[in-house]
């Protein structure tokens, strides 16, 4: 294996194009290095992004643009993020451990496509987009909810690089929350629920976005649960129904943390609770 460290994005894309499937991109490496050590991936070339200055930028200009080399810690600690995109800040603080957050990047986490990671649900709730670039295909933008496809499987093609995540300015009346259910705080979520609600002047839900980690082999947007809410005034019964809808549209995986049935129940509970939290009631 060779380690290459291009200093521009163009160089990185050239390398990715040249080496194709035999290359792996490494940002923080907090997931990739484990896969390498367990020989679950065996690239011939490792393309490090750490010398590409523009990828280290976290820019806020109405929307926020988080470059591929921005760490979880940098996102979590940015006061502008916690003020304007608090759902993401909370999800970032929930990621693993301080050692991992200091090294791991948000984009790397997203590119890894792990179904129980914390940020993806928050990104769906915040209506984020994933920026993909390749030498041949140029740039494209994929909505977070369309990006996660399967277990460690995403919409990114092998020659594409995740260069940034952008989050639009949140609607003025938006209220959101992220709630994580795990055995221990440092664990991957058993269930991680994120939501963003916009209420009308009559108190009815105008807009709802719910992202669920751990609800399937990939993070999903709980559209059925959202449908239950739209146009209705939030009541305990309504939130309960939304939770049930989320559970129904989920297909969680059985593992040592719990059976599929158990996790479905947790999804119902945590969907309801995250909605309550967003509404200031939980």
């Amino acid at each position: 294996m060779k380690y290459l460290e291009p200093s521009t994005l163009e160089e990185a894309l050239d390398l990715l194009d040249e080496h194709g499937d035999t290359a792996k991109v490494i940002a923080g490496g907090q997931s990739l290095l484990i896969l390498l050590r367990e020989r679950l991936v065996t690239p011939e070339v490792l393309i490090g992004l750490s010398a590409i200055e523009p990828l280290k930028r976290l820019e806020i200009n109405g929307e926020t643009r988080i470059g591929a080399m921005v760490t979880h810690a940098a996102v979590e600690q940015d006061a502008r993020i916690s003020e304007r995109w608090p759902v993401l800040a909370v999800a970032e603080a929930a990621v693993s451990t301080v050692q991992i957050r200091n090294r791991g990047t948000l984009c790397g986490n997203v590119a890894h496509g792990f179904p129980t990671a914390d940020p993806p649900a928050a990104l769906i709730a915040c209506d984020a987009s994933v920026h993909l670039v390749s030498k041949r295909g140029g740039q494209r933008l994929v909505a977070a909810e369309d990006f996660f496809i399967g277990l460690m499987e995403t919409a990114a093609r092998p020659d594409e690089l995740v260069t940034a995540i952008t989050l639009p300015a949140q609607p003025p009346q938006a209220r959101g929350a992220y709630l994580k259910y795990a055995t221990r705080a440092l664990d991957f979520a058993i269930v991680g629920a994120a939501c963003r609600l916009v209420l009308g002047s009559d108190g009815a839900v105008l807009e709802a976005r719910i992202g669920l980690n751990g609800a399937a082999n990939h993070t999903l947007r709980a559209r059925e649960a959202e449908r239950v809410l739209i146009g209705e005034r939030p009541t305990p019964v309504l939130l309960e129904r939304a939770g049930q809808a989320a559970a129904l549209e989920s297909s969680p995986l059985s593992d040592v943390d719990g059976s599929e049935d158990y996790k479905r129940r947790i999804i119902a509970v945590y969907t309801r609770r995250v909605l309550m939290r967003a509404l200031g009631e939980g």
Binding site: Y3, R103, R184, S259, Y262
Partner: protein, 930 residues
């Protein structure tokens, strides 16, 4: 893989290194730069033992490539102390007992340091959040959190009764550990970190199947890899089988593999990476055999046999028959029977098992290894290799935790020795984290049917228990675990008639071994849940029921233990009082509950039918300047017993300061025979050996000083580093003068030194009845907990925890407290989350991210209370402690969960899913409680 040249800036020093691109920063620091203060415990970013600073932020160095670290500033633990002056965080860790085994300490210190750099005055909760990624298996995090708070200039969040008046000068005081500086600086030596010149590395290819015949094994490709020096299978290994109770193990599989993780072949190579590539290149074919995974099924006629000559897979049947059981049950108004099941807890030592075998040209093998008992290991290896005792030297440096798992021969020891013999070079072998989980022993899972007769007034009339131990594929300490619980199971309560039947049953699961508590945690879980259930059926308060039946000092327990000191009654009273039992039980709150449980554990003990001995040894030498060298046969596993408690006893006895005593531990060649560190025995047994050796030394000193002072020896006393005449203290000689007089000038040239061997006064159980007073003494404890249960998820949170303990008198209260806190953490893990999940023999969670041990955030504050019973046999009245800390934890939690929810769980761990299922079963309209 082509190496790349990089420059690493570590602690301000530039280093030129050549590294493979996939080399981790942790490995580069440890192996290329020799900076082994950075620990490697999981190698997957899941424990933070390897935490270092990269440009000032804390990262796991196992998840940073060395090539990525080039041109960045790296700071390691070695970069903190300057000119012998500790960093304030290190100093606080040293002063406040925050380092036990020391293996997590460097990563913890580096993490704390980074936390305080960005948040100089963190709250306790912020500290716990900040170190949530740093796993510790010894401390329960309490003293670590205290130390970080103290380093931040804030008073520790709680003031304990650590400093209490002691009637002694050194004993009974919370003096800092003598090994603290070594551990907080990362300088303490561990076998896992050591290297010898010319050393080779070995790795073992392990079975992916739980039961299979090896039909072909082709090592030729592996042998051809450059750097692979040898490939071995069992035919290259000694053929003598080994095992403490039943000799059923071989170094590598004897043609059949019997559990997932069993060794199939070994590769010896020039480095670790090449050895790993070597085992991947071995081609093995297996013919799967039918397996047995449930011990009850394994006992049925016709079940597949794990070992050909063991029918129904029952390898041992332990019994205790005491009193007239039939009459006892006949005298009962009620007979209650319940079944309980316990989980497969792993030791999860931060330092994996490690050995360096160095067979020299004269035919002597020197072993540097992470072992709790140099004596047991040497004895076992003598038999396996047919070698003389004086040809095997075992040196145990500090252990990065042991908890029982490092108290017997592991296959890496045998392979490393044989390889070193064959190749004439030192060979190092160690477990990776998944090997540690799958192949280094576990606590035995048990199925316990327990039956008790009681009168209507709550008096116990008889008890019987039928226990099935899931032994796994090999026997290890299985029968000893069963024997120990069989005898201790009769010692907590006054029981007129008692029967215990324990079946140790082979399965094709990873195998059990010795683990802190040695049978008591399993049995106590069953007995103490059962106790609450009986009390409720009788309409009695569980505390009242216990107090009515508990053993008292002076009792001889039905199973034989002579309870010369016994403070369990007071422990239960104190724990109940402290948790607010009466008030909280009479004012139930939804989702909240309190529970209590009590238990017993031994101080060492005779648990092997053929070993009628139980000894420790110590050597004391007074040097020509009056300083004292103390030689201890036990190893320092983390408790502080071998290095600090024994030194305190020595200093007390010789009238010197603790700082005047230096301890050397665990070298089989230079220290008299000693069974080692296990069974809560070091402070007491070694402590008595120290006292005896000191008494001899005192006699020698008095003989010499008596002449110098013209006084009779019985007029002399010691203190303040002097020998003096008791009636005229100013007539004195410094120890230095006495020793010099003896060594150099006036005398016949004698060294002032003595050795002592202390064999505990106890006896083997009767072979027929299983009854006997099998241990030196018996410690007791009661844990009371308050829990909060999320009734929608089943998740249990512990909000308050009281541990009242009778371990006799305390030699070092802070060290004692740290044992209780660490024990509570393991007990909470055992009760709530720890279980190596095996599905048809396949291990589903062999890593720290999936086998979950408590972090700082899961640990409540632990309130330690003491019932000091002044045991007549122990030094200064002390009894054993280390294991007691976790014995009654799990049932206290289960009883509290019942109190909170009405759900009685018969199985641990109390996973949220099980709790929720229990809640489903009892769910009633709100407000109604059974």
């Amino acid at each position: 893989m082509a190496k790349q040249h990089i420059q690493l800036d570590v602690n301000g020093i530039p280093y030129d290194v050549l590294v493979e691109p996939d080399r981790s920063l942790a490995d580069a620091l440890r192996d290329d730069l020799g900076l082994t203060g950075t620990k490697r415990a999981c190698n997957e970013g899941e424990c933070a033992s390897c935490a270092v600073h990269l440009d000032g932020t804390v990262v796991n160095s196992c998840l940073v490539l060395a090539v990525q670290a080039a041109r960045h500033r790296v700071t390691t633990i070695e970069g903190l102390a300057r000119n012998g002056k500790l960093d304030p965080v290190q100093q606080a860790f040293a002063d406040l007992f925050a380092a036990q085994c020391g293996y997590c300490t460097p990563g913890m210190v580096m993490t704390a340091k980074a936390l305080l750099a960005t948040n100089p005055k963190p709250s306790e909760q912020e500290v716990r959040q900040g170190i949530r990624g740093n796993l510790c298996r010894c401390t329960g995090y309490a003293k670590i959190v205290d130390a970080i708070m103290a380093a931040s200039g804030q008073a520790p969040p709680r003031v304990d009764e650590v400093e209490r008046p002691s009637k002694h000068r050194v004993v009974g005081r919370s003096l800092p550990r003598t090994d603290a500086r070594e551990k907080v600086t990362g300088r303490a030596a561990y076998a896992y970190d050591m290297r010898l010149p010319g050393m080779l590395y070995g790795e073992i290819l392990r079975s992916p199947l739980p039961h299979a015949r090896i039909t072909s094994l082709d090592t030729s490709v592996a042998e051809a890899i450059p750097g692979v020096v040898a490939v071995y299978t069992q035919k290259d290994m000694p053929q003598t089988k080994f095992g403490a109770f039943v000799q059923d193990e071989t170094a590598l599989a004897d043609g059949v593999v019997r559990y997932v993780g069993e060794g199939v072949a070994a590769v010896i190579a020039v480095d670790e990476q090449t050895a790993l590539r070597g085992i991947e290149a071995i081609d093995v074919e297996f013919e799967p055999l039918p397996g047995v995974f449930d011990p009850e099924e394994a006992m049925r006629e016709g079940a597949a046999q794990v070992h050909p000559d063991v029918e129904r897979n029952i390898v041992a049947h332990n019994r205790v028959l005491a009193g007239d059981l039939e009459a006892g049950f006949a005298a009962a108004d009620h007979v209650f029977e319940d079944r309980f099941v316990t989980g497969r807890q792993c030791h999860a030592c931060l330092e994996p098992h490690a050995v360096i075998a160095d067979h020299d040209a004269s035919g002597r093998v020197t072993l540097h290894m992470s072992t709790q008992s140099t004596f047991f290991d040497r004895f076992s290896l003598m038999g396996i290799f047919g070698m003389a005792a004086n040809k095997i030297r075992i040196i145990a440096p500090y252990l990065g935790g042991g908890f029982g798992s490092k108290s017997e021969t592991h296959s890496i020891y045998v392979v490393a020795i044989q390889a070193s013999m064959n190749l004439g070079r030192p060979v190092k072998m160690f477990h990776s984290r998944d090997e540690e989980f799958m192949a280094s022993r576990t606590r035995h899972p048990e199925i316990i049917d327990i039956k008790t007769g009681v009168r209507q007034d709550g008096t116990i009339t008889a008890r019987s228990a039928r226990v099935i131990l899931d032994n796994g594929a090999y026997t290890s300490y299985g029968p000893g675990v069963s024997l120990t619980q069989s005898m201790l199971g009769g010692a907590v309560y006054r029981i007129p008639a008692y029967r215990y039947d324990g079946y140790t049953v082979y399965t094709n699961n990873p195998f059990g071994g010795a683990f802190r508590g040695f049978g008591s945690p399993q049995f106590t879980f069953a007995a103490e849940c059962h106790t609450d259930m009986i009390a409720e059926r009788l309409g009695m308060d569980p505390v009242e029921f216990r107090l009515k039946n508990l053993s008292r000092a002076g009792d001889r327990a039905i199973s034989g233990p002579a309870l010369d000191s016994c403070g369990v009654y007071e422990c239960v009273e104190k724990a109940a009082e402290a948790i607010g039992w009466r008030e909280k039980r009479s004012n139930p709150k939804a989702g909240r509950g309190v529970g209590i449980a009590c238990g017993v554990h031994f101080t060492s003990g005779k648990f092997h039918p053929h070993v009628n001995a139980d000894f420790c040894a110590a050597g004391v030498k007074v040097n020509e300047d009056g300083s004292v060298s103390l030689m201890i046969g036990a190893t320092e596993m983390g408790t502080g017993a071998a290095t600090t408690a024994t030194a305190q006893i020595c200093a007390e006895e010789l009238g010197v300061e603790l700082g005047a005593v230096d301890v050397v531990t665990s070298d089989s060649e230079t220290i008299p025979a000693d069974f080692g560190t296990y069974g809560s025995r070091v402070t007491t047994l070694a402590g008595n050996a120290v006292r005896d050796a000191c008494a001899q030394v005192r006699e020698q000193l008095f003989r010499v000083a008596g002449e110098g002072l013209a006084a009779k020896t019985d007029e002399l006393a010691m203190g303040d580093g002097k020998v003096f005449v008791r009636s005229e203290p100013e007539r004195s000689m410094d120890l230095a003068a006495v020793v010099q007089s003896s060594l150099f000038r006036d005398r016949d040239g004698r060294q002032i030194m003595a050795q002592a061997h202390y064999d505990a006064p106890c006896s083997l159980p009767d072979p027929e009845t299983g009854v006997g007073d099998f241990a030196m003494s018996y410690s007791f404890g009661a844990h009371a907990v308050e829990v909060e249960v999320d009734e929608e998820t089943g998740q249990v949170r512990i909000v308050d925890f009281v541990a009242a303990t009778d371990c006799g008198n305390l030699i070092n209260p802070a060290l004692a407290e740290s044992q209780v806190e660490g024990g509570a953490a393991q007990g909470i893990g055992y009760g709530l989350m720890e279980d190596l999940v095996c599905e048809n023999g396949m291990v589903l969670n062999p890593r720290f991210s999936t086998y979950k041990i408590p972090t700082a955030l899961e640990m409540p504050p632990i309130r330690s209370l003491w019932v000091e019973t002044n045991d007549a046999r122990g030094p200064y009245g002390a009894k054993g402690l280390a294991e007691m800390g976790l014995v009654p934890t799990a049932p206290a939690i289960a009883n509290a969960v019942y109190d909170a929810t009405g759900a009685r769980l018969h199985r641990i761990p109390l996973t949220p899913e099980r709790v929720l299922a229990g809640l489903d079963a009892v769910r009633r309209p709100e407000g109604v409680r059974s």
